[in-house]
């Protein structure tokens, strides 16, 4: 049986993360309990750094997009860019996770799962055929199902894990069915070959291909939590341990959207009129649903979950634009969005640990004055979500609107503008709570006695997120240059 030539370098980000995962698993057994948390967290952090470095190297070294490993994966800058984002998100998520009071006997497994899921994500964004696509997707999803449920003492965590498992599996099944239909119609697995087959056999309006395309979009919509495939998002984001939520919100969305863009432009260029419209409609529904539902949330994690749905909408606008500006916009947008998402959940985690209960708009009253660093950071995250200047979110939205306008979809610009106006209400509600209201009753701090824990690592992580969020506003040119190099390798 012939074996394909394996480009190990192209796979290195995934492999580094898998290696880190294996070390963490070993640590769960071999390292004494006292040092286990420190050891496995350090290994995970180093794994993310290593993966980031390898992805950066891959980015620098892939001036041409090539197909590797029997054409199953693409080695290109578009994928490497997304891998860097995943590695960064994972690294920051370790900082948020470290202080979490998880069960000591599961701490090694926690970091093993975190790195393993990131490995799956790094694999997914390189996928260039239907099999690797599904493999990567399931690889990271299964890790995340377990991560959501890892706090088995907490009912909410179990519920989140179960819900995510059931709905996520349904989404995967939908996706798989779509993949099967496309394969059935074209007889091809590889994205480029599918496009060629559609072209060659005149399958542009073939029912199987179109049904398959629709199911693929829906399946990826589940992972990107775009409305109307978002039903699991608020419950899972709320119930899962906050560090896991932070990682999911930043990384899962990144890979789902990046992959969706890759599949749509490489495999279905012939149907671009159709899927552009479909994606645009999903974007509008996500923007409307996410923003309107977020208005009435009191629980901060739920609110951020709905906000993440609306941001999926913004990024889908960039995909719907289907041009190079759109690809750049998507990649750039992910940087401040990911950082702000991680940071915002990091602040929620900090407050959660202080109070020992769910964080709502009521019990963060006055928090901005008590915790200046966390308060100012939350300010920055809310501003970037709302797309106000001096944060990267503003430039991201500007690029998204520019891409839509460039593609002649000016009506998407209008929808985006209206959605932004609505979103201000609830983003500023957080700031209002933190700075303009004083706690009505003495806030009950967690029963630790004395002042709440000073978590240097968590605060440092939040600060790093703030730095990225604001830095992205000033350093637009270098980031856009990178995004441009990555986008240039897509067949647009």
């Amino acid at each position: 049986m012939p074996t394909p030539n394996v480009d190990w370098f192209a796979l290195s980000p995934s492999l580094v993360l898998l290696g880190a995962s294996a070390l963490c698993l070993l640590a769960a057994v071999l390292v004494p309990a006292a040092a286990r948390k420190f050891f496995s967290a350090s290994v995970a952090a180093l794994g993310f750094v290593g993966a980031g470095v390898m992805a950066g190297w891959l980015f620098a070294d892939s001036s041409q997009a090539t197909l590797e490993v029997a054409d199953a994966i693409t080695r290109d800058r578009f994928g490497a860019f997304a891998q860097i984002l995943v590695a960064g998100a994972g690294f920051l998520a370790v900082g948020i996770s470290y202080g979490q009071r998880t069960r000591a006997d599961h701490v090694g497994e926690y970091y093993a799962l975190l790195t393993a899921s990131a490995g799956g994500m790094a694999f997914l964004v390189q996928a260039s055929d239907l099999m690797t696509l599904f493999l990567g997707l399931e690889w990271f999803s299964i890790c995340l199902y377990v991560l959501c449920a890892i706090e088995i003492d907490a009912v909410s965590s179990l519920e989140a894990g179960l819900k995510y498992l059931v709905v996520g599996s349904f989404g995967s099944a939908v996706l798989l069915y779509g993949l099967a239909l496309v394969y059935g119609a074209t007889g091809e697995l590889q994205f480029g070959a599918i496009a060629d087959a559609i072209q060659a056999h005149g399958l542009e309006n073939d029912g199987l291909v179109l049904a398959g395309l629709a199911l693929i979009i829906a399946g990826l919509g589940f992972k990107a939590s775009a409305a109307p495939f978002h039903m699991w998002t608020p419950d899972v984001y709320e119930g899962a341990p906050t560090p896991v939520t932070s990682f999911m919100s930043a990384a899962t969305k990144t890979v789902a959207l990046v992959l969706a863009f890759r599949v749509l432009v490489t495999a279905f260029p012939a149907e671009s009129d159709l899927w552009e419209l479909a994606v645009a409609v999903i974007a509008c529904v996500s923007l409307a649903w996410g923003n309107i539902a977020a208005l009435v949330q009191r629980n901060l994690k739920r609110m951020l979950a709905y906000s993440s749905i609306s941001h999926a909408g913004f990024m889908l606008i960039a995909i719907a634009a289907d041009n190079e500006l759109g690809a750049k916009a998507l990649l750039y947008y992910l940087i401040p969005y990911g950082a702000a998402s991680l940071g915002a959940f990091g602040v929620v985690a900090a407050r959660e640990r202080e109070l020992g209960e769910r964080v709502t708009l009521d019990n963060i009253a006055g928090m901005g004055w008590e915790r200046p660093l966390l308060g100012v950071s939350m300010w920055a995250f809310m501003l970037t979500f709302a797309g106000l200047p001096l944060t990267g979110g503003f430039v991201g939205k500007f690029y998204v609107f520019a891409a839509a306008y460039d593609a002649g979809m000016w009506w998407l610009v209008i929808v985006g503008v209206i959605a932004t106006a609505i979103s201000l209400y609830y983003y500023l509600a957080v700031v209002r709570s933190m700075y303009m209201r004083m706690p009505e009753l003495e806030v009950r701090l967690a029963p630790v006695g004395g002042s709440p824990p000073r978590e240097g690592l968590l605060q440092g992580t939040v600060l790093a997120c703030t730095a990225v969020t604001i830095g992205a506003f000033f350093a637009v040119q270098p980031l856009i240059d990178l995004a441009e190099k990555a986008a240039a390798q897509l067949p647009l």
Partner: protein, 470 residues
């Protein structure tokens, strides 16, 4: 060095804000530092005036650095003759506001003064932007400190006030953002000095929406009464004196020159809104029950008048509008600060509880009287010069607009005299304690320079009108 002046004017207050926020200074030191930074900023501006070449048109002290090149967006700043005066008015009013806040004492001074300095930088940035997206960035950046300044240090109804303020302004601004995207991508550049023009009515209206909310024009003024009543006196002074001028600047520098055809075709629309706002604002000011209500609605009326001048679309109207923007900034800041002074003594601005404050308080009476009389555009005052130019300018566009303008000026006399007499004259109000003092030296030091500047301008309005370059 000269090239850097515009940048220094923007960056200096921003750096001072960072210093105030980050260094663990004592409360008194923070206020002094902020005041010092504001004074240095005024000094830099005076330096800029002396170096400015009023003999040539085009931007001066300009600097350009690419920000993101693929869309043609750059950091491009510089000053024209007219924006120089707007910057000057702004740094003076913000300096006075900072000084007033320092004297009054605000809780959490580090946050407060940092925000005031940040606001200064943003305002100067708005008036010096030569790039459309940069303009938008500063335009929005003004909102962030204002939101907190009103929301944290404001009165009892501050939460509703900030919410209305933000929703109104952002709704307008986001329409402008859509318009900016459309304009910039169609032209291939966001540079404002390029002279690119468009004849798309919708894009024009996107800009008008943002400026109409910010000015505000009737009927986009819903945020105005709450914001001006609930914020502290010095923030109200900045809001009505300085921030509203960003709208005038936008009309003058962006909406009119870059959309010549739409501005001409839709002139009637903007003029109608402005005329309606002028009459409506003046009438409501005349019926307002408190000091701030009068100043707030008079501000609506005055900005409408400025807009009428700008949309006369001729040199006469534009010149008058710029002069009137400078005038109104100083007048409205003086009046709001004096309102704050009155409220500190009487704990209310309600006319029913005020009165007779002139007796034994000559400094207060003199300053309020002077500012009020200039505000009602008594002949010989600088406001008279400005309003006369505006009316003369708009008269050539149709005598009907001039009649509306003249009506507004008559009404201005009515509401200003009502304000003056209700506070200063008549029976001593029940809320006015006998022991309420006259202006303290510090208060005098803050308000007197503003009024003195108004008197200087009254004697020599040509200081502004003869030194406008575009």
């Amino acid at each position: 060095m000269t090239d850097w002046l515009a940048t220094i004017l923007i960056v200096l207050p921003l750096v001072a804000a960072l210093v105030v926020w980050l260094l663990p200074l004592a409360d008194r030191a923070v206020g002094s530092l902020a005041l010092l930074a504001a004074l240095v900023e005024i000094g830099v501006w005076i330096n800029a005036v002396t170096r400015f070449d009023f003999g040539r048109s085009g931007p001066q002290f300009d600097q350009q650095h690419s920000w993101f090149g693929d869309l043609g967006v750059s950091y491009h700043v510089g000053l024209y003759g007219f924006s120089l005066w707007l910057v000057g008015m702004s740094v003076v009013v913000l300096g006075a506001a900072i000084a007033y806040a320092f004297w009054t004492g605000r809780p959490r001074p580090r946050a407060y003064f940092g925000l005031m300095l940040f606001l200064t930088g943003a305002v100067v940035g708005v008036f010096s932007s030569l790039d459309l997206l940069l303009f938008y960035v500063f335009f929005e950046a003004m909102l962030i400190p204002l939101y907190v300044l009103v929301g944290v240090w404001g009165g009892a109804g501050r939460l509703t006030a900030t919410l209305k303020f933000v929703i109104y302004t952002m709704a307008g601004s986001l329409l402008m953002l859509a318009a900016i995207v459309a304009f910039g991508l169609t032209q291939g550049t966001f540079d404002l000095a390029s002279g690119a023009t468009s004849d798309n009515d919708l894009i024009f209206l996107g800009f008008v929406a943002a400026f109409a909310v910010k000015a505000p024009l009737f009927p986009f003024h819903g945020w105005l009464p709450d914001a001006y009543r609930e914020s502290s006196a010095e923030v109200a002074a900045v809001l009505s004196g300085v921030v509203s001028k960003a709208a005038g600047f936008g009309f003058l520098f962006i909406a009119i020159p870059h959309f010549p055809q739409p501005a001409h075709d839709l002139q009637w629309l903007v003029l109608a809104l402005a005329a309606a706002g002028l009459v409506y604002g003046s009438l409501v000011a005349f019926r307002a029950p408190d000091v701030r209500g009068v100043i707030a609605y008079s501000s609506l009326a005055q900005m409408s008048l400025v807009t009428i001048g700008l949309f006369a679309l001729n040199t006469l109207g534009t010149t008058g509008a710029v002069l009137q923007m400078v005038n109104h900034g100083l007048i409205s800041a003086s009046l709001f600060l004096l309102a704050g002074v009155v409220e500190r003594r009487a704990t209310t601005g309600d006319f029913a509880l005020l009165g007779g404050m002139a007796r034994g308080r000559p400094a207060l009476a003199t300053l309020l009287m002077t500012a009020g009389v200039i505000a009602l555009a008594v002949p010989g005052s600088t406001a008279f010069a400005g309003e006369f130019l505006i009316l003369a300018g708009v008269f050539s566009q149709g005598w009907g607009w001039a009649v509306a303008g003249a009506l507004g000026i008559v009404l201005a006399a009515m509401y200003m005299l009502r304000l003056i007499s209700a506070v200063l004259h008549g029976q001593v109000g029940s809320a006015v304690p006998d022991e309420a003092l006259d202006l303290r030296p510090a208060e005098l030091a803050v308000v007197a320079p503003l009024v003195a500047l108004l008197l200087v301008l009254s004697a020599w309005p040509a200081a502004v009108t003869d030194h406008l370059t575009f």
